[in-house]
Every structure is written in C-alpha cells, then in structure tokens.
C-alpha cells in the first residue's frame, strides 16, 4: 500500500512534465546574417521574380511564391531601397548595375520523432504484470518548410560565383496548418528578418 502510494505520486508528477511548444507557430524561426564590410545605405536592388524550389518532387506549393516576393519587395521599399526591373536573362543581373541582387529559394524537410516504450518497462499489480514488447513505440513525422532570402553583391561576380552580403532564413512546421495561417506566418517571419541588423540601425 505504502509503495503504491509512493509510485502513484511519483507517476503523477512525472506525468506533469512540461511539454514545450503547443502551436506550430511557436516553432517558427527567423535567422539572418550579413557582411559587416558592405554598405547597406541607399541600396538599389533587383528581386529575381522566380523562387528556386530545391525540391525534386515539387512537394512545396508554389501557391505562396507571389506573396513571398511581394512581401520582400514591400520590406525593401519600406527601408527606402529602389527596385530595378528584373532583367530577362541572368547575364543582365550583372549589367543592370544594381547594388544587390535578391534571390529566394525554398525547400521542405521531414523530421522523424520516436516516442517509445516509456517508463516503466515492466511492473505489476495484484499478480498482474504488463510490459512493452520489443520495438514498441510510436513514430511521428513533421514537415518543415524553409525559405532562404539571399542578397548578393554583383560587383563580386567571378567564375560564376557571387558574394552574399545578407541572408535571411525562415523555417517553420507546416503540418496541420491552414493556407491562411501559413501565409500569415510567412509574412510575419519575413518582416522579422528585415527588423534584424543591419536594417534596424
């Protein structure tokens, strides 16, 4: 009886272990990095108007592409930067003499989570016992979507490579999220990227 009381209390407290994020939006992440030596004042920019989907199976919807590009343009314009029309060919990116060229890419990834055979592995009550069989457990998968916004300096172009002066990465779980929720979260995270240094100086 005494042991049962001990185990019951410990079990109740263990069951109350905090769970962390409750909503998909609480897993949203915005990370930026920039080149300190580059002058970010008064930029002219080209925004490449096609998003590169790094995904052979095309399982990332292109439904959000136009909105992503518009949101980036809106943020750049709000910062006082001037958009130059996107050239018709990649070669034009160099000839257009913009201070920076913005390219956007997107991809998805799958996270595999295993919950298995939790404590206690084997214990009994009143002559009855139970245990988890080998391999017992649950596997769940979560799909994450990522968007990478790169700002490159076309004057550094050499050997088909160009130097990145600013990057913004947003990442979020897209499972069980409505399109309107995903749109709203993408907008929020893009906006946040443009509040980070050096744009908040």
């Amino acid at each position: 009886m005494r042991l049962l009381f001990y185990l019951l209390l410990i079990g109740v407290v263990a069951g109350c272990y905090p769970k962390g994020p409750k909503y998909a939006s609480e897993l949203d992440l915005a990370i930026t990095n920039y080149d300190e030596s580059f002058d970010f004042d008064s930029l002219s920019y080209i925004l490449v108007d096609t998003i590169f989907h790094d995904d052979d199976e095309e399982d990332i919807s292109r439904a959000y592409d136009e909105e992503i590009l518009q949101r980036i343009e809106s943020n750049m314009n709000n910062l006082g930067f001037d958009r130059i029309p996107t050239p018709d060919s990649p070669a034009g990116l160099i000839q257009a003499e913009a201070d920076v060229v913005i390219t956007v890419s997107a991809w998805s990834s799958t996270s595999i989570n295993y919950y298995g055979g939790y404590y206690p592995p084997s214990w009994g009550w009143g002559g009855w016992g139970w245990y988890y069989p080998p391999g017992w457990g649950f596997v769940t998968t979560s799909t994450y979507g990522s968007i990478l916004i790169d700002m490159s300096d076309p004057t550094t172009y050499q050997n088909e490579q160009v130097g990145i002066v600013w990057s913004g990465l947003i990442n979020g779980m897209v499972d069980n999220s409505s399109p309107s929720s995903i749109r709203s979260r993408i907008d929020t995270e893009i906006d946040i990227c443009f509040t980070h240094p050096p744009f908040n100086n």
Partner: protein, 196 residues
Amino acid sequence: MKKNLLTLIFSAAIIASVFGQDWNTAVTYNIGLPLGNTSDFIGESSFRGVMVSGDYFLEDEWTVGFTAGIQTFYEELGRNTYSEGTVTATGDEFRYLTAAPFLVTGKYHFDRFNPISAHVGVGAGLYHMIQTVEFSGLFFEDRNWQLGFMPEAGVGIEMSASTDFYIAAQYNYYLESKDISAQSYIAFNVGFRFKP
C-alpha cells in the same frame, strides 16, 4: 536521461518501502521557489516536484538517512531575439531546469514521540542537473552531476500510530560545475511520513 532519473527515484521509493520496517520513510509533493542563478534562468515557481526520504534512528533524537527526488522548473519566455556577432535569430523560447538530488542526510528530532514533532537537518551529496533552452525547435542542453547540500526543517503531525502528515522546507544549493553555474532553490514539501 529523465527515464534514468525516474528509475533512480523509483528505486529509492522501493528501498524506502522495504526499509520502512525499521525506518521512518516519507514521500512528499514539492513546490520549488527558484533563487539566485536559478531565478535568473527561470523566474517561475515549480509545481512539479516529488521527493522520497528515509531516516534511521541512531538514538531518539538523531537519524541518518537519504533523500532522493526530482524538481522540474519550466518557463515560456515567448518570442525573443538574440544576436551573436552578425547573426541574429528570432524565435519562441522555452526553458527547462531539472534538479534531481541524491543526498545522505542527518537530522535532529525534537520530541520524537509527541503528536507534533519537529526536526532540523542537513543533506549533502549529488544533484543531477539538466538545463535546457528550446528555441523554436532547436535544443541547447547542458547536463551535469553537481555537489550540493540541503539544510532543512520540518514538522510531522500524527494522523495515526504509523502515519504523520508531514511538511518541510529545504534550501537546495549546488555548486558550480563546468557547464552549469551554482544554483539554488527552496522546496516546500507536503506529504506523509510512515513510521515503523
């Protein structure tokens, strides 16, 4: 690791039950109040704690024994932005701190055979610490065994010949280790003490 900690505490509960034939044993629900570096890391009190203890009487006043338990602190800090050099990250932050003391104890009991009996004591030993920051799905975790000590005071109120209602307050302090700074918290214990 949490499974391993629970295994140890389950073991302590079984030992307390078996040794209960000759020992005073107690099991309590604990509320933790963070202090010092602990409150800098997590400001909120913990309502997730449990402790098992056993006391063997050397004389009518003096006991030696053990204490084992677990206390989990948790706080949701919401949206935060951090910068390191030119890198800046914004995400939702969740902090966890689990303290699991495994201590040997010595206690002095006032009026052991009275219906209301008080004690003071001190424990010393190891605390297993797990300090975790979850930042939008990214985990940053430090874990360590740290030396610590725990002065305490408590009162037992007799409910029957073999059972007391039991309350105690314990100041837990554990020393700095390689990855985790010195931490402290007060645990308020409420539970039952079983007498031989």
